[in-house]
Structures are given as structure tokens and as C-alpha cells.
């Protein structure tokens, strides 16, 4: 799902959802911008493929955590913008919390001497 140079890091499905929700927490964006932003912020570690990004976006839209509207992009093209809904914001908090707990626990176990 993500790609680093010639290596592939496989993100579990829920993780991509979390990344999308977080990215949209800042401002509404279209799919391209989301994938670019994630790549940028993760210092190119996480490169999201279209093949996973758009199904994820549609899934999130169906769950009601994001909603879409059509707008005009920076280069004057018609693009579909997504934004976080109220329930989406709640979901983001829940999942981010769970993730932090999980990674802290993982770190503890992995750092065992």
C-alpha cells in the first residue's frame, strides 16, 4: 500500500483511514492533495497508491466520516474535495488514541532488553 523507494511497507487498512482522517482534519482537500500531503509529511516514507486511496475515500464517505463536494482546484480544474464530518472528527480522536496506545505498547515490548 505504501512504497518506500524499492521497499514496500504494507499498511493495514485501518491505518490508511487514520491517515486520511488526520490529513483532512486540517482542511478540506481533494484526493491528490491528500496523497501528496501524506507523502510530504512522512518524509516520503508513506506513498499512497491511487488503488488504495480512492476505495478508502469512498469507504470513509459511506461511513459518514467524511463528506464530499465538487470544487475548483488550484490549477482551475474540477476536483472532488473531501472534508471531515463531526462524527469523522470523533472517529479520528478514537482511532488516534488507540494507535498511540498500541504503538507505545509495541515500543515497550520491542525495547525490552
Amino acid at each position: 500500500m505504501g512504497k518506500m523507494a524499492h521497499e514496500r511497507i504494507d499498511l493495514p487498512q485501518g491505518t490508511l483511514d487514520l491517515l486520511i482522517l488526520k490529513t483532512l482534519a486540517l482542511e478540506p482537500q481533494h484526493g491528490w492533495a491528500i496523497s501528496e500531503r501524506i507523502q510530504q509529511i512522512s518524509s516520503n516514507v508513506l506513498q499512497i497508491q491511487q488503488g488504495s486511496l480512492y476505495p478508502a475515500l469512498h469507504r470513509l464517505e459511506r461511513r459518514g466520516w467524511i463528506k464530499a463536494h465538487w470544487g475548483v482546484s488550484e490549477n482551475s480544474r474540477r476536483a472532488k474535495y473531501y472534508e471531515l464530518t463531526k462524527s469523522g472528527r470523533k472517529q479520528l480522536e478514537t482511532e488516534a488514541g488507540a494507535w498511540r496506545k498500541l504503538s507505545a505498547a509495541m515500543a515497550q515490548v520491542l525495547d525490552m532488553a
Binding site: 481533494h30 491528490w32 488503488g51 476505495p55 464517505e61 459511506r62 459518514g64 480544474r77
Partner: protein, 280 residues
């Protein structure tokens, strides 16, 4: 859950719009990818090729999006239905024959079932219909005969198996309310009719055995609820109104309950059978 359902419904009902949107969305992403490659120095052709590679199969992406939308089987069903309709439209004769056969079959079945339902399956709207029994006279030539009144009274007085017996027969007299004549369906019944059937009047009172005892003296009649509604618009003043029948004056004394009109279909009038019917 509601949101989910609405979303799926939208994707089903406005399928073309949703598909177009998906196409536009993916196309936009593709273009942005191309632009990015062009900006980093590649030619347009090269950029397109690169973008295509990274994009993966676009149809596959669309499929995954469709799956993500859910209701996949419903979409497929819908598509199949439309295909079937298109095909049928091309052979109208076949379609006509199929529709006609179905219509005949369904229509015939419904008609017969309604009839049987009304006649046989619906319980009679009387008290304890399972305890009712019907007597008939069968003559030597296997035709139905009629009971004489004496025979009826004999049965009534001497029967030990039945709590009570009543007699009824149907007639179609012409009655006149203050001169306006109309032909009605009526039943001549014995006084025990209403008590045997266990009915409560909708208005006034119903016949009782006393009405049998005085032949010819101010005879009474009971009308059905339907008749009361249709002819008198549920006017409570109908009790006590009189009409003439064959020269005699009858008084309406009550109305049968709403669910019950008569044993014979459509009869709207009950007259005590002691009334002497002029020989025809």
C-alpha cells in the same frame, strides 16, 4: 446506519452520475500526477506513461470503489433487470404474450380466491357459527323442498338436540315508503332468528319470538345496517318509520349490526314469517 443506506441508495439510483463522478475524480488525480512528472523534467508522453504505471489498472480501481460503495449485488441485479427490459422491448409480441398469460393467471386466481374467501372461508359474523346447523328438505325427486310452518313449529317444540331453531326464506317484495316504491331483497324469518344467531342491534331492537304470536297485527320489520346507511344515511329516526308492503303497513323496529346483513346475500329486510304472504 441510515447514512450508509442513503449512500448506497444514491449510488444505486443515480448510478450514472456516480460513475461519472468517479471517472472525473480519478482523471483529475491522473492529470495531477502527469503534471508533477512534467514539472520534474519529463516530457508529456513520458509523464503519461509513468503516471499510467503508477496508477495501476483504472478499471480495477473503479471496481474497488464500487465494492466499497456496497450494495454490489443490488447494483448487479438492477443492471440485469434493465438488460432484460431492453431485450424484451425488442420482441414486443413475446412480451405481450407473457404479460397476458401472467395477467390471466393472476386475475383468475385472485377472482376465485376472493369468491371462495367471501363465501366459504370467512366465518359468519354471528355468535359461535360452528354451532349452527342447517335443515333442508329433500324431496323424493332430489330437489329441495320447503318446510311448512307447522313442520317448523313442531321441530322447534320437540327438538332435544338444538337449543333453538329459526326459519327463514327469501323473498323480493316491493315496499313503499310514503308512496315511493322500491324493490328490495328480504327474508321472512321466524322470531327466534336474531336470538339464535346471537346478534345485537345497531339501533332499536331485533325480532323476538313475541313478534310471531300476533299474526297480522301491526307487523314489524328489521332493516340491515347497509340499507340504513344507504337509504336513510344513518338517521336514528328510522325506528318507527313505516312502509307498506302488499297493502299492509309495517313498522321498522331496529337495525341489524354492521357486520351482519343476512343469511341470504343482500337481504336488507327481515319480516316475521307469520305474516301471511299472498299466494302468487
Amino acid at each position: 446506519m441510515l447514512h450508509d443506506l442513503l449512500y448506497c441508495l444514491r449510488s444505486l439510483v443515480r448510478r450514472n452520475a456516480v460513475e461519472d463522478e468517479l471517472d472525473d475524480e480519478l482523471r483529475f488525480h491522473f492529470e495531477q500526477q502527469v503534471q508533477k512528472h512534467v514539472r520534474s523534467g519529463r516530457t508529456r508522453a513520458e509523464a503519461v506513461r509513468q503516471a499510467r504505471l503508477m496508477f495501476g489498472g483504472i478499471e480495477q480501481v473503479k471496481e474497488e470503489c464500487r465494492d466499497a460503495r456496497g450494495m454490489r449485488w443490488l447494483e448487479d441485479l438492477w443492471m440485469d433487470l434493465r438488460y432484460a427490459l431492453r431485450t424484451l422491448r425488442r420482441s414486443p409480441v413475446f412480451l405481450a404474450v407473457a404479460v397476458l398469460s401472467l395477467a390471466l393467471g393472476i386475475g383468475a386466481n385472485s377472482a376465485i380466491f376472493s369468491l371462495i374467501d367471501a363465501v366459504m372461508l370467512r366465518a359468519m359474523p354471528v355468535q359461535e357459527p360452528e354451532r349452527l346447523a342447517q335443515f333442508e328438505v329433500i324431496r323424493a325427486d332430489s330437489n329441495r323442498g320447503s318446510f311448512s310452518y307447522q313442520l317448523f313449529t313442531y321441530f322447534r317444540e320437540h327438538s332435544q338436540s338444538f337449543t333453538d331453531i329459526f326459519a327463514d326464506t327469501s323473498v323480493q317484495p316491493e315496499i313503499a315508503f310514503k308512496g315511493a316504491e322500491e324493490r328490495v331483497n328480504a327474508e321472512l324469518v321466524s322470531g327466534s332468528y336474531h336470538s339464535v344467531l346471537g346478534l345485537e342491534p345497531a339501533a332499536g331492537r331485533l325480532l323476538n319470538p313475541n313478534d310471531d304470536r300476533a299474526p297480522g297485527v301491526s307487523p314489524v320489520a328489521v332493516i340491515s345496517y347497509r340499507y340504513w346507511k344507504r337509504r336513510f344515511a344513518l338517521d336514528p329516526g328510522v325506528i318507527g318509520r313505516s312502509f307498506t308492503l302488499n297493502g299492509s303497513v309495517f313498522t321498522i323496529i331496529g337495525v341489524t349490526p354492521k357486520e351482519f346483513s343476512a343469511l341470504s346475500r343482500g337481504a336488507i329486510l327481515k319480516l316475521p314469517s307469520l305474516y301471511r304472504w299472498p299466494a302468487r
